[in-house]
Amino acid sequence: MKTVDLNKKQTAILQTFGPQLEKSGTMYRLWVGFLLLMILFGGYGLFRQIYIGHVVTGMRDHAVWGYYIANFVYFIGVSYGTAMLAAILYYFKVPWGRPIIRIAALVAFISGVIGPVFILLCIGRFDRLHYLFIHARVQSPITWDVMVISTYLVGITVFTYLLLIKDFAILRDTDKFEFPSWRKKLYNALALRYTGTSEQDQQIGHSTKSMAFIMVPKVVLAFAVLSWIFGMTLRPGWRSSIFGPSYVIASIATGIALIIGVMWVYRKLYKLEDYLKDEHFRYMSLILIALVGAFGYFTLSEYITSWYTSMTWESKVTDKLLSFKEFGWAFHLANFFGIILPIVVIAFRRFRTPTIITALSLLVVFAMWVRRYLTVVPPLETPLLPIQDARPEYVHYSATWVEWSLVLAGAATFFIFFTLVPKLINVVPISDYEKETN
C-alpha cells in the first residue's frame, strides 16, 4: 500500500511531537486524574439534581435560569466564534493562520459539545427530551435552536475531522514511534485509507473548503437564533436589537482569548516556538482588542440609551448593573478587565509579548463569562411587577454547590480534552507543510 511521504520539515515536526505522543509522565497522570475527579464531582451534583429535583440549584421562580444558561450561552458562543475564525482563516488561506486553524477548530468542537449539555441541565424533565422532536413547534425559538445547534454540531465535527485526516494518515504510516497496536488500528480507521494521491488531496481540499464556506453562514444563523431566545421575550436587557451583534462580538473575542491561552500552553509544553511564533500571538491580540473594542462600544450604546431615556422597567435593569449595591462590582470590573485593560495594554507595541497577551486573554475569558452571567440573571430578577416575596432565595439568585460542581465539571471537560488531544495527534498540522522543501 502506498504511504504518505514526508519532507524534512514534516519529519522535524513529527519528531517534536514524538515524546508526548508516546508516553505520559506522572504529573500528566495526576493532572488527568484531578480533572476526572472534578468531572465525577459534577456527575454527583447532576445525580442529586435528577434525583431530588431542581430545588438543589439556586434557581427559583424569578431567576429561572442561572449558571447553566450563562454557561451554555458562553460555551456555545465560544464554539461559534472559534468555528467562524477557523473557517475564515481556512477559506481565505490566511498565511499566518495555518498552525492556528487546527487549535481553533478543536476549541470550537469541544465547546460545541460542552455548551448544549448545559442547556440540558437546565431542563426540568430529562425523560421528555424527545418531545422536542416529536412535538416540535416551529414557532418556538427553542425549536429553531435545536435545529441549528444539531446541524451545527454535525458541521463542526466534519470540518474538524477533515482538518485531521491527513495527519492521521501520517501517524499511521510513520515507523518512528512504538505505538501499541490499538493506536495503530485507530489511526488506520481514522485515516480513511488516505494515501496522499493527488485525487484524494483534491477531494479533501475541496470538501474542507466547502465546509469552511458553509460554516460561516451556519454560524451567523446559529448566533442569531441563540440571541433570539433572549431577544424574543418581553424583557428589558434581553429584547434589544443589539443583543445579537453584541453577543457575536463578545463570543468571538472570548474564543480568540481561549485560543491564545491554548496556544501559549502548547507552545510552552511542547516547545513549539518555531510554529506558534510571537507574531501569531501579536496578530491574534490585535483581532482580540478590535473585537473587545467593538463589544465595549455595543455595551455602551446599549446601556447609555436605556439610561438616558430611563423608561422605568428598562432602567431598573440598567440601574442594577451600574449600582455597587447590586451587580455594579461585577459589571464594572468585567468591563475594566475584559475591555479597557486589554485595549490599553496591547495598544503599546512593546507589551505585545506572548505572555502578556496570554495573561490579558485570561482576563478576557473570565470577564466575558461574568458579562454572560450579567445578561442572563439581572433581567430575570427584575420583573415588571414587584417580587414581594419573603423568601430571599426567590428574590436573589445565588448558585448552589450543585451548579458550581457542574460548571467546574464543564471547565474540566474543556481542559481534559486539550490535555488528551496531544496524546492522539500533533497539535500543529504536519500535512500543511507538505509544500515546503526544507
Binding site: 429535583g53 426540568g124 418531545y131 414557532q139 431566545i229 418581553l234 415588571l384
Partner: protein, 318 residues
C-alpha cells in the same frame, strides 16, 4: 354544546348560582373517611366543623383535617385542549374591594393542593407613583389573547384554547422554563421539587384542566379552574373572596358575576373605567381591573393579618 346564546346565558347564570350555593356549602371531603367514601359536609368559618361520617354519625373535627377536592368530569385529551365550545372566559378584578384578605390565595392553594408557599394567585401591593396611595392588586394568570408564553413553548405544552384559556399540559411540559421568562407578569411557577400532594392525588388522571397531580420539573400556573366552569361553577378565588372583588364570566354572553352580583361585562368596564394591566405590552390580557377608587378600606388594613416578615416587604410603600 349547541344551545342558542340565550339558552347558554340562562344556563350559565343558573349554573353560576348553583356554583355559589355549592361553594358556600364548601365541597369538603373528610380525609379520615374510608376508601371511596366521599362525603359532603357543611362547614363555615370556625376551626372545628361538623361532618357526617359514612356510617351516619355527626362528628366534630378540626377544619385543617378537611380537604377540598376537584370533582372533575372525565374529559378527553382533545376536550381539555380545545376548551368549552362557545365560551370566552373573562375576569374582572375590582381593586377598590381588595383588602388583601388573601382568601383567594388560600382557596386556590387548597383547591389545587398547593403547599402554603406556592401561590398561583398572588396579591401584590402596588404604588403607582411617589404621591399616589398604595393599593392591593390580586394577580391571576391573565390568559392573554396574544400570549407570549404560548408563542415560545417548544413542545405545545402550554396552549391557548378557543374559550380563551391558556393552560399547561404538565404531562407534555419538558420544563425548559422559557415560558416563565417570556411571561411579563411573572405568572408561572415551577415545581422545583415534589409538590407534596396527598398520596391519593397521584392516582388522579393528569389533565390540563386540573393540573393535578402536579409533576416535578414542570411549569404550572393559575388555570381559571376550567374544570369548575365545565360543571357550571365559579373559580375558587371568586367564591372565596369575602369582598366580592373577583367577577368571572363569559365575554360572549357579556355577563360576569362575583357570586352575589351578576352584571353586564361591558357595562361594568365602561362605568368603572376598567383597564388591562400592561396594555402597552400587546399581550391582550383577558383579565380587567377596575381602578382602586373609593376603596372600601385603606390599604394598611391589608397588613393586619400578615406575619411580621411579610409585613416588612411593604415597609417602603407606606
Amino acid at each position: 354544546m349547541s344551545e342558542s346564546s340565550e339558552n347558554g346565558r340562562r344556563d350559565f347564570l343558573k349554573k353560576g348560582a348553583l356554583g355559589v350555593t355549592l361553594a358556600a356549602w364548601g365541597q369538603l371531603v373528610f380525609s379520615c373517611a374510608p376508601e371511596g367514601g366521599h362525603d359532603h359536609a357543611a362547614a363555615e368559618g370556625a376551626d372545628t366543623v361538623k361532618v357526617l361520617t359514612p356510617d351516619g354519625q355527626l362528628v366534630e373535627v378540626d377544619q385543617s383535617h378537611l380537604r377540598h377536592v376537584h370533582h372533575t368530569q372525565d374529559i378527553s385529551y382533545e376536550e381539555s385542549r380545545t376548551g368549552l365550545p362557545g365560551r370566552k372566559f373573562v375576569m374582572v378584578i375590582d381593586l377598590a374591594r381588595c383588602t388583601n384578605a388573601r382568601k383567594c390565595v388560600t382557596a386556590c392553594q387548597k383547591m389545587h393542593h398547593l403547599p402554603p408557599d406556592k401561590e398561583w394567585l398572588t396579591v401584590k401591593l402596588m404604588k403607582d407613583s411617589e404621591d399616589s396611595e398604595p393599593y392591593w392588586f390580586p394577580k391571576t394568570c391573565y390568559h392573554c389573547d396574544n400570549p407570549p408564553c404560548v408563542k415560545v413553548c417548544p413542545v405545545d405544552a402550554t396552549f391557548k384554547r378557543q374559550d380563551g384559556l391558556v393552560l399547561v399540559d404538565n404531562t407534555r411540559c419538558i420544563g425548559c422554563k422559557f415560558c416563565m421568562t417570556a411571561c411579563p407578569y411573572s405568572t408561572r411557577v415551577f415545581n422545583w421539587g415534589e409538590r407534596g400532594e396527598p398520596a391519593d392525588m397521584k392516582t388522579h388522571r393528569a389533565n390540563a384542566e386540573t393540573s393535578i397531580p402536579g409533576q416535578v420539573g414542570t411549569v404550572e400556573k393559575c388555570d381559571f379552574c376550567p374544570d369548575m366552569a365545565r360543571m357550571g361553577q365559579l373559580p375558587d378565588c371568586v367564591v372565596a373572596c369575602p369582598n366580592g372583588a373577583f367577577y368571572f364570566g363569559d365575554q360572549n354572553e357579556d355577563i360576569v358575576t362575583n357570586g352575589s352580583e351578576t352584571v353586564r361585562f361591558t357595562e361594568l368596564i365602561a362605568e368603572r373605567a376598567g383597564y388591562r394591566y400592561g396594555e402597552e405590552l400587546g399581550t391582550e390580557p383577558r383579565v380587567y381591573y377596575l381602578p382602586p377608587t373609593d376603596r372600601i378600606f385603606p390599604a394598611e388594613k391589608g397588613l393586619e393579618e400578615l406575619p411580621e416578615e411579610s409585613r416588612k416587604l411593604y415597609e417602603d410603600l407606606f
